[in-house]
């Protein structure tokens, strides 16, 4: 046991630490909400919307991948002494360990999705003669003897994958049905009837269909990726599926940590401005008008250039490339956070202005309740829904912004896997003959899925929490 552990060096990147702090915070919040009926009710309303719950399921797949990709470690070099071990400079994650060969099976250069040959002809020595042909890939389809075996093999693997996904989902469904039927003291058949007619107290049909589709897609990908490059390979021969999956963490980090930065600023300053009014209000309004009036991209660009200078002039602070890339990612989140808190702050200011004149707040003040207590007991709980709606609405915009910033050249570190970097890197591939489309396609597909799921979920949350939108649809 001891020797197995000592062959790893756990690496805690800054963003990892913040992500796990965030997860812990969310868990505490969930625990708190579960015990308060008035907080639970809107969440139950969210769970009853088929669109929102389906989107949440898709999002959860992304989140699980992102979390697995946030547990980092370094492997011990094989020939290093036991008392002073050397560790590899490559920082890996649990996700890397799980996907195994996907990371290491590197081809020479471009290859099409599911291909068994490279995308360009090369000179190959055959029986002493140089022939120009498409060379076979080292890994993709290397178990095939002849090109004619490829299509039947793909079909066979797809069917096995789909069937396994279906089997697992049916098993899960059976277990769920048994548990639910037992809890409701129905017979199995009765529960099944209720489910089929959509008369359960939760959108059972949508959940079942989405889970089934996700599991079948997972089975398909696992079986195909074991023998092929499902989304092809990029210029240096890396598997595009692997890069796209690795990019999930980057997208999630930007979408969540940025909001984490904005929240204290927006909540603290927004409520303070609206509640205290007077010169405090003037100062805070001045600060956010100034920040707001600077074009966002330019402020981010200026700040990113400054971080770059800092990292370059202090190379000893960051021992691995992963740490350097990580600090830039964190800086990007910080900067985007500092530039984007103004909208929410203005909203909270307006709401607090209204709330402070309400009778119960005036009564609290008349009783001599302290300002901090009034704010935390009376103001904050009444603007919390606005904060929550802003969090979920901002998320998708931030994921999309990452791609644009990477294109401008002020996004995440070029060595970090991200959809923006994928798009940026494949800009010239479309001008190439024949066209290389799969890297661009994969990046857009993944980004679209995440953003669409986030948008649909955000809609559900907003409809459930915003009293103004209640009932209208």
């Amino acid at each position: 046991m001891n020797s197995a552990w000592s062959s790893f060096d756990f690496v805690l990147l800054w963003t990892d630490a913040l992500i796990f702090a965030l997860v812990a915070g969310v868990l505490v919040l969930v625990f708190f909400i579960r015990r308060q009926e008035h907080l639970r009710a809107p969440w139950r309303a969210v769970a009853q919307r088929p669109m929102a719950i389906g989107a949440a399921l898709v999002l959860s797949v992304f989140v699980v991948i992102g979390l697995l990709d946030s547990l980092h470690y370094r492997e011990k070099m094989p020939d290093s002494p036991a008392d002073a071990p050397h560790y590899s400079v490559d920082v890996l994650s649990v996700f890397d360990a799980l996907v195994g060969d996907l990371r290491t099976q590197q081809e020479k250069t471009y290859s099409e999705p599911m291909a068994m040959q490279l995308y360009a002809k090369e000179f190959v020595q055959r029986d002493g003669v140089a022939v120009r042909e498409y060379p076979r890939l080292k890994f993709g389809g290397s178990h095939l003897r002849h090109a004619s075996e490829r299509e039947p093999d793909i079909t066979r693997r797809s069917l096995i994958g789909l069937a396994q996904g279906l089997a697992v989902s049916l098993l899960l469904f059976g277990l769920l049905a048994a548990w639910q039927a037992r809890r409701a003291q129905n017979s199995f058949g009765e529960w099944f009837m209720l489910w089929g007619e959509g008369r359960l107290d939760w959108p059972g049909r949508t959940v079942a269909v989405i889970v089934m589709l996700l599991l079948m897609m997972g089975g398909l990908l696992i079986h195909l990726a074991a023998a092929y490059h499902v989304f092809g390979t990029d210029k240096v021969g890396q598997d595009v599926l692997y890069i796209s999956l690795k990019s999930i963490r980057t997208g999630l980090v930007i979408g969540t940590l940025t909001t984490l930065v904005t929240l204290p600023l927006a909540i603290g300053l927004g409520i303070a401005a609206g509640y205290f009014r007077g010169w405090i209000d003037d100062v805070i309004q001045y600060v956010y008008t100034v920040l707001n009036s600077i074009p966002g991209v330019l402020l981010i660009a200026a700040a990113v250039l400054i971080v770059q200078v800092y990292v370059e002039s202090n190379p000893d602070l960051f021992d691995t490339a992963a740490r350097r890339a990580d600090i830039r990612l964190l800086a990007l989140c910080l900067i985007m956070g500092v530039t984007s808190w103004t909208g929410l702050a203005r909203l909270l200011r307006g709401e607090s202005l209204k709330l402070r004149t309400l009778d119960y707040v005036e009564a609290a003040r008349a009783f001599g309740v302290s300002h901090s207590r009034i704010i935390s007991r009376h103001i904050f709980p009444n603007v919390f829904h606005l904060v929550l709606i802003a969090i979920v609405l901002d998320f998708s915009g931030l994921v999309l912004a990452e791609a644009v910033l990477s294109y401008v050249g002020v996004g995440v570190d070029p060595s970090m896997h991200s959809w923006g970097n994928m798009i940026n890197g494949s800009r010239l591939e479309l001008a190439r003959e024949p066209v290389v489309w799969w890297q661009l396609g994969a990046a857009f597909t993944f980004m679209f899925t995440l953003v669409l799921a986030a948008n649909l979920f955000a809609d559900g949350v907003r409809d459930a929490f915003d009293p103004r939108q209640g009932g209208r649809r």
């Binding site: 001045y286 600060v287 008008t289 100034v290 707001n292 009036s293 600077i294 074009p295 991209v297 330019l298 402020l299 660009a301 200026a302 700040a303 250039l305 400054i306 770059q308 200078v309 370059e312 002039s313 998708s396 999309l400 791609a403 644009v404 294109y407 401008v408 050249g409 002020v410 798009i423 800009r427 479309l430 661009l440 857009f444 980004m447 679209f448 953003v451 669409l452 948008n455 649909l456 809609d459 209208r472 649809r473």
Partner: protein
């Protein structure tokens, strides 16, 4: 009215000073001229001499705020702050790294930026309002429901995808329009069409959905019920009452961005090779030309503040209930 506008203008000055101080702090204090020189010269050529020469070339060899060596008012004026930051108030931006006058560049590049941004804005506004009205007219039917879903799908697609897909299919596959470039006058029309089309399509999702909620908010009000009660047709109610009142938040929301149209769009201009301010900015960011970035920050803030003032004025113009004192 005039007094109000004057007061708003006076109020804008401290904000511009704030922007100016912030950019000064970002570009000269957090990030010193030495750092800039080191980055521009590259690791190989960094010698104290080379840094000194770079600073003299760019006029960054003065003290930051107070020149103790000079005498009289030159103590304040012969400084980086006065020469490079305060000078922006009179739109004196100095020279970029390519030696050209930034003010001149801005003047010549405003036209092409506007040639793209203005049509995108106007046509986009019309298209979005049309779609929003259609959804409102067919509200609580499947047409409306799927319209909203389609809007969410459209706004979930990255803006980069619209541009790349548009260029690839329309220009490369079907050869309908030139892929990029720019020309003045009528010749320029064929270059403008594709970026305008893509800009409008990319904005439909969020725009139409946003306007739909505005119109729906109006539909719940009493005057609409009254209008229906007097027997007006649904179409008449929609156009005469809802559209007219819904236009107030839409127009005032649009006025804020009106001056910023001069700045152009970074991404569109760089993809389509349009010699406007957007591609100027993006080139400056990529070449780390701090003087240009600083000038664009100031210009952008200035235009934003102009937009804020115009918004206040347009409120009182569009909605007679709003009186400015």
């Amino acid at each position: 009215m005039l007094a109000y506008i004057l007061r708003r203008l006076l109020y804008a000055i401290p904000i511009l000073i704030g922007v100016n101080l912030l950019t000064f702090a970002l570009f000269f204090i957090v990030n010193t001229p030495e750092d800039m020189a080191r980055m521009q010269l590259g690791a190989k050529h960094v010698t104290p001499d080379a840094i000194e020469r770079w600073k003299v070339e760019h006029g960054y060899d003065r003290p930051l705020l107070l020149n103790a060596k000079a005498s009289g008012s030159a103590q304040l004026t012969d400084t980086i702050f006065f020469q490079h930051s305060a000078a922006m108030f009179v739109f004196e931006f100095g020279k970029g790294d390519d030696g050209r006058n930034i003010g001149n560049e801005i003047r010549t590049r405003m036209g092409p930026s506007l040639a793209i941004a203005l049509p995108v804005f106007v046509i986009g506004l019309l298209v979005n309002i049309t779609f929003a009205l259609l959804m409102v007219f067919f509200r609580s039917t499947y047409l409306d429901l799927w319209g909203v879903v389609l809007c969410v799908v459209l706004m979930s697609i990255s803006g980069l995808f619209y541009i790349i897909a548009g260029q690839y299919f329309i220009s490369k596959m079907w050869n309908l329009l030139p892929i990029s470039g720019f020309a003045g006058g009528v010749d320029g029309l064929k270059f403008i069409m594709l970026p305008v089309l893509i800009g409008v399509v990319a904005g439909i999702g969020s725009g139409a959905r946003w306007y739909r909620t505005i119109f729906l908010e109006e539909i719940g009000k009493d005057y609409v019920r009254t209008a229906r009660a007097k027997g007006l047709s649904e179409v008449r109610v929609l156009f005469r009452h809802i559209l007219k009142n819904g236009m107030i938040p839409i127009l005032t929301g649009a006025v804020v961005v009106l001056p910023l149209l001069f700045m152009g769009s970074l991404i569109t201009e760089s993809f389509f090779g349009i010699p406007g301010l957007g591609s100027y900015t993006i080139d400056a960011i990529q070449a780390q030309d701090f003087a240009v970035v600083r000038a664009m920050v100031f210009l952008g803030s200035f235009l934003y503040i102009v937009g804020l003032i115009l918004t206040d004025i347009s409120y009182s113009w569009a909605d007679p209930r709003v009186r400015l004192q």
